[in-house]
């Protein structure tokens, strides 16, 4: 297995905004249905929908071998959303991710990433997602 160790100097790193993601009505309905949420006409997304956009980018960042984070052994420890408004069908949103913290505690690699979702046109903020992931050391299992 990977013997990589987390590079603590990656904390503070920021990544440029993604290409715009266009939020589809049927995607909202699909997401809402799994959560038992009232989907209605699919116009307004459930509160945790922004993770769909953030997770994709975070995974790409954490898969970078230079970072030394073993995503295969990672579990999600904390999650937080701060929303200016709900995500709606038709939104075109970019995500910019920053690595807020990166440290190794008792052999477990802990990273916190923040994703900023903004309107692609004009850059108005919509939501921030803050995620802490822990990649467990192998003998701790």
């Amino acid at each position: 297995m990977s013997a990589a160790t987390l590079d603590p100097s990656c904390a503070g790193r920021t990544y440029p905004p993604t290409e715009p993601y266009e939020v589809g009505r049927e995607k909202i309905r699909e997401f809402a249905a799994v959560l038992g949420a009232p989907a209605g006409d699919g116009a307004v997304a459930p509160p945790t929908f922004p993770i769909v956009l953030s997770l994709h980018v975070m995974k790409q960042i954490l898969d970078d071998p230079d970072l030394g984070f073993d995503f295969a052994r990672a579990v999600h420890r904390d999650q937080r959303f701060e929303s200016v408004r709900p995500v709606r069908a038709g939104d075109r949103l970019t995500v910019s991710v920053e690595i807020v913290a990166a440290e190794t505690v008792d052999g477990n690699d802990v990273v916190t990433l923040r994703g900023h979702l903004r309107e692609a046109d004009g850059g108005a903020p919509v939501c921030t997602t803050t995620s802490t992931l822990v990649s467990r050391k192998e003998e701790a299992v």
């Binding site: 799994v34 038992g36 949420a37 945790t48 999650q79 937080r80 408004r85």
Partner: protein, 138 residues
Amino acid sequence: MSQVPRPGDRLPTRTFRYTRERLVAYAAASGDHNPIHWSDSRAAAVGLPGVIAHGMLGMGVAATAVTRWAGERATLVEYGTRFTRPVLVPDTADGVDLTVDGTVGDVREDGTVRVDLTVRCGEQKVLARTRAVLAYDR
């Protein structure tokens, strides 16, 4: 909800059934295709006792309990949790049930409402410090 919430108000208890089918559906809806959420052997390979649910699925259904209670006029402006215990989902038709309870913890001067949530699988809490802050359209 027809009246202004008050501290101590309780949300109706809601139960969500977790099956392997639901995990696969959440993987597709969310784009989180991590094999620990659908393959016993891949889960075992990283030291887990079996397939576990996505933490975000639990956070998502807990939000559903809040939005169903609060109605369309409310927006979750803040929402946070810690994932403290993985939920093992057996490969059976019945799966396991997740139960969500909530209490209004605070009604602030600006009109926002804090709801404190408890999410259990059986008797065990699976999330901690699960709090949602709601803002209402006027």
